[in-house]
Subunit: 298 residues, 4 copies
């Protein structure tokens, strides 16, 4: 039996948000979208979406997604005068897909609960092309009944949804920790490739050997090739966003007393990159920092 | 056409060496084996190997493998009075599979060349079960004609052999750098899992999610499960050997002026583990250090 | 000519605050004091201070000092309903001696300025005994006229006041950076002493030699002896406060894109110490972490 | 009573060695000097020294100093065909002032002892001007009777000699550990000054404040001013020598299982500096690395 279509809102139409909202439309749902820059909503209107004038309007159906760029943006979207909270009808559900701090997640959970609403954290793993192909991986956490209700929506946009209990902070932590693991893999590649290059070994051949044996996860091929080819733009995920993620990991660790020396190291590398003016480069530019530090052409 | 069987020697019959020598025998070659502790050679004798009394005797066929535990052991095996050099006939070939430093590799290349012999570096990636199954991954480097000649032997013990040119130091560097990448992946897991546990997320579920999405390479499952289950013994690869590998990476980097901060960090973690008396634990015990440092039951 | 006595308020009577307020009294000033726990104000009342019932009352004279424990405490003290802002008469001056973040300093400067008041940052270097002896070192920054006016007060409590211009953030940065330097010196001692002990050299003799030659600054003697004698309590400056300082340094650095790897390292060491339950120990316990990591009795 | 003049040899006439040998001459001793580049011995000949043709000749008096640049140089000086060992008469004494590894110290102790000679480690703290002024600080260790005998010689070249027992390795460890502490202080300065500069505080004023309060040891003034003024040449102690010292600390720590994360960090910084081609700069150039990493003019 197919799931019944639903009336939903979607706020935040960057590359990821647009792709996800598009898939929600394709799955037959009625979607009202909002984006600060209205132009980004037009393509979705052509696919059948209604364009809202404010987050509040996007929230009136009672189920609303958020996919925005930062803690501040999410907080504004929810609590500002024409924000989600002012539009959500009783027993509303907010499904946050943005990567945000545990602190803001915790705050918004409390605020929504105090108004009788449910906050669900459903951050996503995957690049924009995976979002388009509805191939995202989604850890989800929130009140069980609310999560049950929105699972069909998550299934419409991802290839795998895994429930991490009722505390939204847990899903947010999974996302933050997963991004951190990805960055450690990139830094590992960056250093190993600098070492190999400085010894005169062909880095492409080395990478090919490694990804053809132990390091078979596609991420090693993707980021390794970027580093080997010194191809850091256009950025799939730019350094200023990447360092924001590292800071989220450090903050999440610090609040519970977990040392995370790899995160410290990576944050410092990102700061070095930004101090060089590399804001427009992809986070694979950890490879550029490692090469430069090794005295290699970077 | 099948490759013609060859007369070869094999020195060093630990878990890895015994498995590899066994596969060389199964492939139809005539193998004369040597191990310091003779008892370890007996099972191979039952498979048809001849037991030599010294490295020199194992080298008399003109093609000899070495798979020993350290720089010192390799140097002794080659240059001691009854060592390989004293037994190798003119135009001999030494195929070193041991993980050793670039420095000792360079020295032995020079020594063998000065006597008219060829040194081939053919270190192997894979655990003992992969060795038994002839599923090793082998980077190989050495004089082209010598490498050509021994390729059938390497094919008999591994699933993939990749040539890295004529300088044996290059294959040694590939091995050292690959081991380093593996250790960075384990440290990444160790820190991420400590973070997730301290936040009350089920680490097994987290690992399952991660290995089912971005981190699909088997190593993440193998080491991640060991950390999640706090199962650090019996050691597949014990800490004292692991720290030796990290030191090889640091030395290889230092000699060409490449900073390798991840290696520094991992070496320090291993030293901490050893200072706790954990010599008998597997290198996955990086997870134990991370947990302890986070105030978690380790 | 002696400076004319002034009417002032003083908020925050911990070890440092009480000593400083006492010296302001001894210098002939009329002081109205406030502390959340009133009992701590009594000894100063015996020296002639008046006890206020709220920060607002302590601020009515127009010049008020704050010496509190955290960003949150300072913000509360200033902006809460019965806070400094509600008591300060026109053209008031707030002299903050607390060690706080650049962010809260910046915020309060703006808030006070918007009400026509001056915010002066005058954090202090020195332990409680130096505070008692009026031997503090004080970097001060704020509007020139306001600073001129309060210089005699600062001279009454310290041995040296240095002006760092008109932006209070600059004096706050000097304090944060100075504390960071102190922590790096302690970590340097901790590691050097672990090294020396593990080699069987008498650490007391080593310390004596070092402090008698290159490392003549008293801090090396003070912290070095604590580490050598493994005397970490009673805490002169406890670990939870110390890690707060390290976080201030990391935040100050991060906001302007400065990598501070030493601070990262020290923060991680403090987190390890706290995870061991060492909250009651002095920050010299960096020596205990280093010893434990080296497998020494700690 | 004045100490009786002695017949001694001195090998290694760099800036430090020449100054020390000069003071030994001025104290009335008869000195036979040797340097690989003979020209460097001429000025001492003018002060009354005899010039030897090889280390062996310099050692014939039975008491010989060595002040050379590296492990390799020291080993050669002692064991090469015309080295110290071949010239030293029975019951000779070698006083090594060079900064060398614990490993080479241990080896030479054994070698000399096996020939009936005594090895004394007497490394020195101080820059060339301190050497000239006979103001060095000297940790000394070796067989008690031999040390007694040479104490007057050490007193003639330093302001303070402290005995660290009979094991020469201990004095070598004191030197290595002390150099490490010095480097940590410089790195602390480098990071703190980068932080302060990026916030727009005048670094000269900051340094002045710090060295006038907590950081009163002269080294903070010396290295701090170099960093503030970005004056890294001429090098008092050049980067290639500095990184050699860091490596000695890391090796000394590694052999006894002591993690030394500060040393790792500093070594990496030095490698970065060297990869920039800064071989001719002083080790204060840690400040240049920190500035560059912070995006400051360096």
């Amino acid at each position: 039996m197919k799931d019944a279509p639903m009336d939903i809102g979607f706020i935040g139409l960057g590359n990821m948000g647009s792709a996800i909202a598009g898939n929600l439309l394709k799955a037959g749902n009625s979607v009202i979208v909002y984006n600060r820059t209205r132009a980004r909503a037009e393509p979705l209107a052509q696919l059948g979406a209604t364009i809202a004038n404010c987050p509040a309007d996007a929230a009136r159906s009672g189920i609303v997604f958020t996919m925005v760029a930062s803690d501040e943006a999410l907080r504004d979207t929810v609590v500002s005068p024409r924000g989600v909270l002012s539009g959500l009808p009783p027993n509303g559900i907010l499904i946050n897909m943005s990567t945000v701090s545990l602190a803001v997640t915790r705050d918004l959970v409390t605020i929504l609960r105090s108004k009788g609403h449910d906050f669900i954290a459903a951050p996503v793993f995957g690049r924009p092309d995976a979002a388009k192909a509805a191939k995202l991986f989604i850890p989800v956490a929130g009140p069980a009944k609310a999560v049950e209700r929105v699972l069909p929506l998550l299934d419409a946009v991802g290839q795998k949804t895994v429930r991490f209990g009722e505390d939204p902070v847990h899903a947010a932590a999974v996302k933050i920790s997963g991004n951190f693991m990805l960055q450690t893999a990139i830094e590992g590649l960056a250093e190993a490739l600098a070492l190999i290059r400085k010894h005169g070994v062909d880095p492409a051949q080395y990478l090919d050997f490694m990804t053809g044996s132990l390091f078979s996860a596609p991420l090693y091929k993707i980021y390794g090739e970027a580093i080997v080819e010194r191809r850091y733009e256009p950025a799939g995920f730019a350094l200023p966003l990447a360092v924001k993620d590292t800071r989220l990991a450090i903050a999440a660790a610090d609040e519970v007393g977990v040392p995370l020396p790899l995160a410290d190291l990576i944050r410092d590398r990102f700061l070095i990159a930004l101090s060089r003016g590399w804001d427009h480069l992809d986070m694979a530019a950890l490879g550029k920092v490692a090469a430069e530090n090794a005295g290699l052409e970077s």
